[in-house]
């Protein structure tokens, strides 16, 4: 039941069609829907922490204000810009994949990865500072500067959510690396075969999306 539209352009790079799918478009549809469902689970995963954030913020507004003021806004803003830009390059990679420009796809992903590393390095400096002054979660909190009820909880939420996010950054980097290597080596992305690039990039955008919410929640308000 291969649809005629696809058998026509046989010269083109076509992805392997798994035997149990009726046609390529069904396979792509399945992959995309599966990815969206997976992203939904990721959203719900972070939602648990957002609920903790929301509830404790509701209970301890002063601690939250004090906690967010103690964070380094400059580093946070830089990180936001880095991540948004990396999202742009990831989106451009999909764009070039559709046009079959494999080299540009690889370069875009390389840039994305570079910015991801940058993000993690900045994050490392932020963490190091916190370990130094003692704004740590739960019972490890020993910063004299802020003593408000609930302040260790703020840092518990801060560390849990940023660590979970950083973990997702690392996973995203792994996924994008695979796509990048393929773009450079196999060079087989094209208008009919870009699902892998698209899904990898969707995952990366989700990482960006989570940060877009984490940033104002943790640093600004």
């Amino acid at each position: 039941m291969q649809s005629s539209a696809h058998t026509a352009d046989g010269a083109e790079n076509l992805p392997r069609l798994a035997g149990h799918f009726a046609s390529l478009e069904v396979q792509n549809h399945a992959a995309r829907l599966g990815m969206w469902l997976f992203l939904a689970t990721e959203i719900l995963l972070f939602a648990g922490l957002f609920v903790c954030y929301g509830c404790y913020r509701f209970l301890y507004p002063e601690a939250w204000a004090a906690g967010s003021r103690s964070l380094d806004l400059t580093m946070g803003t830089v990180n936001t810009i880095v991540l948004i830009t990396s999202s742009l390059t990831a989106a451009l990679a999909v764009h070039y994949a559709k046009e079959g420009e494999n080299k540009k796809v690889g370069v875009m992903f390389a840039l994305t990865l570079l910015m991801a590393v940058g993000f993690l390095v900045i994050k490392y400096f932020e963490y190091a500072h916190k370990f130094h002054i003692g704004t740590l979660p739960g019972r490890y909190y020993h910063y004299e500067g802020i003593q408000v009820t609930g302040i260790p909880l703020y840092f518990t939420v801060y560390f849990c959510s940023t660590a979970l996010h950083a973990f997702h950054v690392v996973i995203g980097m792994a996924v994008l690396s695979v796509a990048m290597v393929r773009a450079f080596r196999k060079k087989d992305f094209g208008p009919k075969n870009y699902t892998m690039v698209e899904l990898g990039s969707m995952y990366w955008h989700l990482v960006d999306l989570v940060w877009i919410f984490l940033f104002p929640m943790l640093y600004l308000v």
Binding site: F21, L44, P137, G138, Y140, L153, T156, C160
Partner: protein
Amino acid sequence: MTPSSSIDTAGAAPHDEHHDHHPSYLVDGTTIKSWLLTVDHKRIGLMFLFFILLFFLVGGIFALLIRVELLTPGATIMDAMTYNRTFTLHGLVMIFLFMIPAIPAVFGNFMLPLMLGAKDVAFPRLNLASLYIYLTGAVFMLWGMLNGGLDTGWTFYTPYSTHTTTTVAPVMFGAFIIGFSSIATGINFIVTCHTMRAPGITWFKMPLFVWAIYATSCIQVLATPVIGLLTVLVAVENLFSFGMFDPARGGDPVLFQHLFWFYSHPAVYIMVLPAFGVMSEVVSTYSRKNIFGYRAVAYSSLGIAFVGFFAWGHHMFVSGQSTFDAGVFGVLTMLVGVFTAIKVFNWVGTVYKGAVDFKTPFAYFCGFLFFTVFGGMTGIALGTVSLDVAWHDTYFVVAHFHFIMVGATIMAFLAALHYWFPKMFGKTYHEGWGLVSAALIILGFNATFIPQFLLGNNGMPRRYYDYPERFQALNVASTAGASLLAFGFIIIAMYLTYALLYGKAAGKNPWRSKGYEWMSEAPPPTHNFVGPQPTFPEEPHFYVDPKKAEVPDAV
């Protein structure tokens, strides 16, 4: 092909003449590797069946230990610490390792593609991965159980779970891993329903089992990540004292309960919705009727899945939750009850003007109907806010959820096992023993849990190692019932094993069912259908005489 099913030749014709040349999935590759690395949904389903039965045995042994311990007040066969671990492990094994994957991962996996006329699920390799993820999680859990065990109860409420000295972290981590298996299965089934339906199968011609699995998968995908996060938080809290839910550090244990029940309440629908789906198939087949109110049953599955998400707070009426929230959750709980009632009425309605053949699966249907009605109605009673104040955390709750969640699911699991046994293995079992053991199990189940309803009324709290003398008589009755139940399971194990080895060949469709899954061979070949994707012109379970088959639109 049986004479009765001559009218579906139109649907199943293309592969009929080929079937001699294609070996069944059971013998298509006989090496161990061909099983362990298979991507065939049927083989994966069978492997799940094997492990799930194994864990059911483990959980069942824990259950019997609990019942024996409760024969007398005070110590009977174990000390308090062992008892606390035993009931915790009973809960964890039965819920995470048996009930949640039981029907979806075994029968869902096996039947869903067959019912949709697909060659496999959408992501076969993910499907295999989900089996191994499940096993990895199970290994972590078992390792934790053997190395100290866990004594928090399966609910692992903070702050007890974050301070107990027993091995919380490995068990939590195991539960976290199993969550991925559940998610993978869920994503796979949803995508399969959306993209793999054969020509002719529109949304409202999908078998009701598929609808139920679809609704279940939605819950799995949306709820499981939350418990995943929560298990990690509890494990981290236990190891490092981050204070997220520790009242001593300003955390709120009631918030933990909100998050916990956000998963764990929908989780009971993960367990029971597939059971509803199985029963819709069974009742149609054995009374040879299209389901009464197809759309009502299909929509009520989705309704339960959706509303069930927002009824979680009825586990927390006396936890210090606000009266306002109690009211909101109370109303939503009633809606879940209404959706279930719709299903019950429609199942009974299906028998109307049908042609009932009282075979073993139908016997389980009767048991199921009983457990669902009583389990469901006691659920409504518990959801009636003021009554819950008296009943909360007593044996009444224990009996209630064993009726609705366990009773209904076990009935459906056994019904499915018997109903699809010829489909899966191509063999028949002994009908007489089937009916005897069904009677034993249904009686045993009642004898075990009806005394527990009364115990709860009488005021015996759950998770009690020791109890005042006045509760003893009912406890003895309950233990006696449990032994009857165990006896029933032993009989099933014996005659099914016998049937597996020496059973007579069943033929393609021994029940003469018009369910979509019966339109392929039994047991099916590796890719289910030979040749192009088959088409399905009729709706499932269409038993109308072809001469007068002018059908009004289903409601």
